[in-house]
Symmetry: C2
Subunit: 363 residues, 2 copies
């Protein structure tokens, strides 16, 4: 299909990485930049690795225009560990937090938070199978809630917060795992943003946390040491050995995005890619996409034929055509095209051609 006999991988994560990044990683695999070591073998205390780390932090700051009063951390444990860390660190004033449930991951986060205090779902779109972002206003938030939690992009259902919610003076916490670096965001509107890296950033195993500095140090003394943001903030993510290699690849992806013009340029490409796919979906009644138009995700495009057997046939034939992992999440079936930053535009074109052909043959 592409160079190196690569396929178009529409996986929801882990997912594609930019070929120039993979080439660089390959070329430096046994000897990184003349150091005589692989990054996989490098002491995290060495000046070489500290440079890799510092560059990654600075480049992410530049890309997202992160204000100075926010710390950037690189942690392990994925979004799942953040489901616990967020309430353990931030639901510590009034022990209340309000959750917006726009999909399965937000639901899981809310369920986990109940262990640590009075976590309440104040808006949900579950009754319509998460086909939209639930509406809510600042009035729906409990006056003494310590924070409001949202999942910015819903990987499974293909929806996305296309405007900033009104949370009044409340702290907003967002899981941006499947949208980070695909759009410019105003970090100052959030108290904490986190993102598992395995969609737009790096191989699985590293999680980005962007936290406003005044929110660090609010966890009780008996919090497990790894789960206290202060542990990591005080030591610039080097309290213990960080996932160095995943962090290095993340840094290379940051450099790559900078090289093509930053997040603004990346977003334009993402808008064009998703636009092509949604335009085609809107032009036919053979495929249906359940998501409310104004809440559509640029990253995860969900669609069905309406016939489960036909969906299965689609997935199987797609694979024969170099289109892999186009199946929907195992909990809902159907199809999902995850077209993250690293999916080339040709991949989307190739998918649309295949979809047209499949429609002609199976209408």
């Amino acid at each position: 299909m592409t160079d190196y006999g690569r396929v178009y991988n529409f996986s929801a994560g882990p997912s594609m990485l930019p070929v120039p990044v993979l080439e660089k990683v390959r070329d430096d695999l046994l000897n990184y930049q003349g150091t005589g070591e692989s990054v996989m073998e490098m002491s995290h205390r060495s000046s070489e690795f500290v440079q890799i780390y510092n560059d990654a932090v600075q480049n992410l700051r530049d890309l997202l225009n992160i204000p100075d009063n926010y710390k950037v951390l690189f942690l392990q444990g994925g979004g799942t560990l953040q489901f616990s860390m967020v309430p353990m660190n931030l639901m510590t004033e009034n022990h209340k937090a309000d959750y917006i449930v726009s999909g399965s991951w937000a639901k899981k986060a809310a369920k986990e938070a109940v262990k640590f205090g009075d976590a309440k779902v104040i808006a949900s779109s579950e009754d319509t199978v998460f086909d939209h972002i639930p509406e809510f206003t600042a009035d729906d938030i409990r006056p003494d809630a310590d924070y409001v939690y949202v999942c910015w992009n819903n990987t499974i259902y293909g929806s996305h917060f296309n405007k900033y919610p009104d949370v009044g003076d409340k702290l907003l916490v967002a899981d941006m795992s499947s949208s980070i670096l695909s759009e410019e965001i105003d970090v100052s509107k959030f108290g904490l943003i986190y993102a598992g890296a395995q969609k737009n950033v790096a191989p699985a195993g590293v999680t980005i946390v962007i936290i406003r500095e005044d929110l660090i140090g609010k966890a009780p003394e008996d919090t497990p040491v790894y789960l206290n943001y202060k542990t990591h903030a005080d030591k610039d993510s080097m309290y213990n050995t960080p996932p160095c290699f995943a962090l290095y690849v993340a840094g290379e992806v940051f450099k790559y995005i900078k090289s093509i013009g930053g997040v603004k340029a990346m977003h334009e490409i993402d808008v064009r890619k998703a636009g092509k796919l949604y335009d085609y979906l809107d032009s036919t009644d053979f495929y249906k996409t359940p998501v409310k138009k104004e809440d559509r995700s640029l990253m995860n495009v969900v669609f069905v034929t309406g016939d489960k057997d036909l969906d299965k046939k689609f997935v199987a034939e797609a694979k024969e055509n170099g289109i892999i992992n186009i199946n929907g999440h195992r909990s809902i079936g159907g199809m999902r095209a995850s077209i993250y930053n690293a999916m080339p535009e040709e991949g989307v074109d190739h998918l649309i051609e295949f979809m047209k052909k499949f429609e002609q043959e199976n209408r």
Copy 2:
């Protein structure tokens, strides 16, 4: 020095990986075994990755002769997360646990455990700067302790449990981060073994946990979901996205060790490498090694000249000779040669030659 202009990296971790493994990873970096994807990009739910995972588990089972009633898990968060997970999951019967403090990491583990119950240090060698494994017998263990905790190999101080401690009928928990796969062990003597991978196994970011099945499910309901062993055991380490790439490299290291004859053969090489170095250290009074002879580690060989400025000179000149990260841990200074499985014997020979030359020039 070696092929690819590589240096001899004596880092305590992350540390060297076998060159044949690095070559394989490099060759497959953009297209793993004809799948058209990098392992970094592979869905953890794909049949290709599940195969990588299953092979890694089976090969580790074979290498360590792990009994059927033990589960193998691959987790994130390093040893630091295990410091919390062990007591949160196992100090749940009588809420008491006894710790053997043979070095800084065991001390940290004990300190963390105090958050979750009555964790008591019943033996320590701290008063002699951890120059030996503290002695204790089954009589020193509290009758109602839920487990006894040891650090099997002390990376910073260069000591190692060279015999199984007598813990009577008590559960033994061991941190084997810096010795795993360097020696045959009788897994059945332990309730739980864990090991951060970044020394003998893989790049940082994955932790091996070997747990007896009857110990799974003892954590309270309100344990953070990621910190409950049951979460991971029930889903074969795929409850959430595992650190796929680090796990894949671990799997390749397992295959490599099998190919050279397994842990027995690896151990023979390790004994020979460490033997050469200790023999030389014992033959001179220019360098001193503080560790009690019968407790010496095969993995971390600690030595000093007795003169701090001379130690610094040693470290600097060693670097000019392709010997890097030979400095001792920042908490104690001096020198430490970490000669893990992947350090070639030529690296040890090269180090000894350098040590002799340095001795001649600075005596």
